[in-house]
Amino acid sequence: MKTAALTRVSEFEWRIEPTGNMRVPGVIYATEALIQAMDEKVRDQVVNVACLPGIVSASYAMPDAHWGYGFPIGGVAAFDADQGGVVSAGGVGFDISCGVRCLRTGLRRSDVEPFNERLADALFRRIPVGVGSHGPIRLGGAQMDAMLTGGARWAVEQGWGTRDDLKYIEGQGCIADARTDAVSDRAKKRQRDEMGTLGSGNHYLEVQEVSEIHDRETARVYGLDEHEVVVFIHCGSRGLGHQIGTEYLKTMATSARRHGIELPDRELACAPLRSDTGQAYLGAMRAASNCALANRQIITHLARQVFAELLPEADLTLLYDVSHNTCKLEEHMLDGVIRKLFVHRKGATRAFGPGHPDLPDEYRAVGQPVLIGGSMGTASYVLAGNANPRVPSFASACHGAGRAMSRRQAHKSWQGGRLLKELRERGIIVRSPSLRGVAEEAPQAYKDVDAVVDGAEEAGLARKVAKLRPLVCIKG
């Protein structure tokens, strides 16, 4: 992106002044190098979002922003229902409530390393992964509806996990006000055998080592220490969320004019929060969020089974579970007034600061864990939400690295088999059903996650707590 079209506010903040139909300015948080690496389309999309009815403060983009559909990926925007605000299916994305969960294991790298290959094989056998994969769980009728309203809480009730887990999940594992009647039969059918599956693409389960500690006090509170081993799970609401996104995108696109909304682009399809369509989407989206939380809970259970068999001294406890494709009703202070706003985070992670009432007691003094997944073979990070952030982007931070190269280009540039060998030589064991998938997910096809995280910290969005290095990666 050319910096000439932006107003530089500080070293890490860039502003797009409101022009034309923009109701608010655009704000991008990034270093100059990250801005220059961003697609021009990010600017267009930040501007388009700024034109939507009821948007509050600004249309924000995080340091890992890249060209999405409608909203940029890495986009954050809040809407006020009292001011004709909207909810957008594209502002949440197809993979509703896609997110990351981090588990401590109580093991050190030296405990796990002799078992890396066996651990990789066992996890790969136990956790369904890749295109067309399905799990042993079949859901239908009342059970499906119970899952869609209960989320991870439902999963724990079925025996997949412990009640303690729920304390460390957004919304205590269950998103309220889900509406199963707003979820189509087709969406439910698409999910009937996909519970407990990881999916494909950039979704994965990794066993990682805490390789660096950046904030010793917060790391202690999070229970992280150097050379300890954690498990990172990155996946979402599977076919159900994809189908809900697909269906409501069309409903919103075709009903926008009826709701008096002139869309700058059809891909910005949205509906007033106070409309039947808007309410139905919110209900369906919350059901999909519960599906994602239940899914990550079941995968956690499967990972625990594998560790118990191979490394019985392991104790997998939940550090945190946070989604990065959501729209949530939250309270935020604006100009000294607390307002209830619908905050869209499309490829952006909620990052509540210290003292927030929604945080587990143990974390309240230091802020929310912000989990940043890297790409295969690269680092992941645990950050923490900042107190009184200098930045007003509704307590949000980045979510990952973002692609630097298209899948097709990556497929042409690397061979899956050779990549697996190179990663193994670096001590990273990868298991995947598809060598082509491995090539498309080559570490070099992604931007530098270190630079993105540094940019987020320097911009004041969150602070670095620990860096994680992969040991074993189960890849879709």
Partner: protein, 136 residues
Amino acid sequence: MWSHFHHGADIGVRGVGETLERAFEEAAVALTAVIAEPAGIRCLETVEVRCEAPDRELLLVDWLNAIVYEMAIRHMLFCRFKVELQGSLLLGSACGEAVDVARHQPAIEVKGATYTELEVREDRPGEWRAQCVVDV
């Protein structure tokens, strides 16, 4: 004729043909090629789909999403497509086989077709183009 075009995080699918129907069919082959090599998929079972949308662009997205849905619920991959358009109605079929992970090496699931870079038009007489970005 089908091709892919660049999109930052995802991938664009494009079908070009002498008729609108042919362009839609080719776009579906491009969709398949995001997942696996179409040449490696056998035509063993045919699935019928029906879509309806108020305009050609939305109909293309519906058609591709219908294929995504059938792939997901049947655990199949498709290689041959037929499209018949009757105004706002699309009657189509997709022929393929059950996913064989070892043989097909499917790289990625498609979550859905989007309205990004969505275009359906006759670029010159007898050359139709149908394209959009798909989320993966």
